[in-house]
């Protein structure tokens, strides 16, 4: 499972970060800091990944199964 982030859509709400700061790191401006190719979700963190993705108010995050 991977998390994909669209940097052009991110509006720096930071709700994902509050769900899990390791899965959803932010840069110094509060923008999602996941690279262009997305990031692999460590085993056992799948539920938190889904939770963080569905809390994004602007749908900037997606799960790739």
């Amino acid at each position: 499972m991977k998390i994909i982030a669209d940097h052009a859509i991110c509006e720096h709400h930071g709700l994902c970060f509050v769900v899990d700061a390791e899965l959803f790191p932010l840069d110094d401006e509060g923008k999602i800091a996941i690279g262009e190719d997305g990031v692999e979700v460590p085993e056992g963190k799948e539920d938190l990944a889904r939770e963080g993705v569905s809390q994004c108010p602007v749908l900037a995050l997606q799960i790739e199964e």
């Binding site: 709700l15 932010l26 509060g30 809390q55």
Partner: protein, 397 residues
């Protein structure tokens, strides 16, 4: 209420807003395989509301669908279906067509816009239809009078100005948002309203077609009147049900009502906060999105230990600026400025009487938001000098 719904039981969700939609998703995520029915009085499947006063009103989009596939989740979605009452003894929701039986019920009926007495037409902004209709009336040179310089009022003013309208706004308090942010902070944002004929400290005493009459004896000519003075939780259909109501459905820290198997989420829920030791009715997008995880767990798992106590968050896009507010403060809390009011990016933090960080307003300054939310949640007592220094990151307080 320590019973759990059987795997082949029935969950009924009343209300097709963001809370109801997320409750559907949560129930499946938490492994519930029984039947799920969503009853929505609206004529379309749940959609997202924050964009209504922003991009939809501005005209850059029409649809705000949520990315939830109800067919794939096996949800029976019934639109244009109004729940008339709940009979808790029989565990049914009464609709015009039939009685819908439930083992677990999620109340997510949200809130409705408050309007003023008077004959003239008043626009409110609650549904997608409201937004599309209002947008049709925001034509160049249209005289738009907004009642209430609320968060929504400011967003409507922004859209109306962008569409070439002539905008006035009537605000009962001394300045927009003064009751929420305090007069000093509100005054520092006042210049954003320079293109609006803002009438502060007056109220509307009457609305007739073409005219809005004010308490100072003056009147404003209006082609369009938009009222944004607040919302009221939709609980009228629950009166007499035995479910405890007090400006919302009264629920505990797991979002359970006093009726077995009945929980509430979103704008309609008045939940008990452990953090603030009082009942909260937040009525923000974030509360409706985060609540269902706890509410559904309370239905599915006996004695689940999950509680709903998020640090509230909301945002507003107005006059080309982004306001983001986290936490919860009262008039007893002291504001601390992080950055001079002349600075483009700045924040205002509030400290409670006990010195704890209680809230933060970020003004075009999203860098502070997420870290403030975590800091407020952990109950930090920051050093005031460091807090007031914008070069000190919130996470290092």
């Amino acid at each position: 209420m320590a019973e759990a719904i059987a795997a082949d039981g029935r969950i009924v969700i009343v209300g097709g807003g963001v809370g109801g939609a997320h409750a559907c998703q949560q129930a499946r995520r938490q492994g519930f395989s029984g039947s799920i029915t969503l009853l929505s009085a609206e004529h379309e499947v749940p959609y997202d509301r924050p964009p209504l006063s922003k991009t939809v009103l501005a005209g850059t989009r029409d649809q705000t669908r949520l990315p939830i596939d109800y067919d794939a989740l096996g949800i029976d979605v019934r639109t244009a279906t109004t729940a008339q009452e709940i009979q808790t003894d029989r565990r049914v929701v009464v609709t015009e067509a039939e009685d819908v039986r439930y083992d677990g019920l999620v109340i997510a009926t949200g809130a409705a816009a408050v309007t003023l007495p008077g004959e003239g037409r008043q626009f409110t902004l609650r549904t997608r239809q409201d937004a599309l209709e209002l947008r049709e009336h925001l034509r160049p040179h249209a005289r738009v009078v907004i009642v209430g310089a609320s968060w929504t009022g400011a967003e409507v003013a922004t859209a109306a100005l962008a569409r070439g309208c002539v905008v006035s706004c009537v605000e009962a308090s001394a300045a927009p948002l003064a009751p929420v942010l305090g007069e000093e902070v509100a005054a520092s944002l006042l210049s954003w309203w320079h293109e609006v004929d803002l009438r502060s400290g007056v109220t509307v005493v009457g609305i007739e077609d073409g005219l809005v009459h004010l308490s100072d004896g003056t009147s404003i000519e209006a082609d369009v009147v938009v009222v944004g003075i607040g919302v009221r939780p939709q609980t009228a259909w629950l009166e007499g049900s035995g479910i405890e109501l007090d400006r919302g459905v009264v629920v505990d820290d797991r979002l359970q009502s006093n009726a077995p198997g009945v929980v509430a989420v979103g704008d309609v829920a008045a939940w008990w906060s452990r953090r603030w030791q009082k009942r909260m009715r937040i009525a923000h997008w974030d509360d409706a999105v985060s609540g269902p995880a706890t509410a559904v767990a309370a239905l599915l798992v006996a004695n689940d230990d999950r509680v709903h106590d998020p640090v509230p968050y909301f945002w507003s896009d107005q006059f080309g600026h982004k306001l983001q507010y986290v936490g919860h403060h009262t008039a007893a809390d002291e504001p601390v400025h992080r950055g001079a009011t002349s600075q483009k990016k700045r924040s205002v933090a509030w400290l409670g009487p006990d010195g704890r960080l209680s809230a933060l307003l970020a003004i075009d300054n999203p860098a502070d938001v997420a870290h403030a939310r975590v800091a407020i949640g952990s109950g930090i007592v920051p050093d005031v000098a460091r807090l007031a220094d914008p070069s000190t990151p919130i996470r290092e307080l």
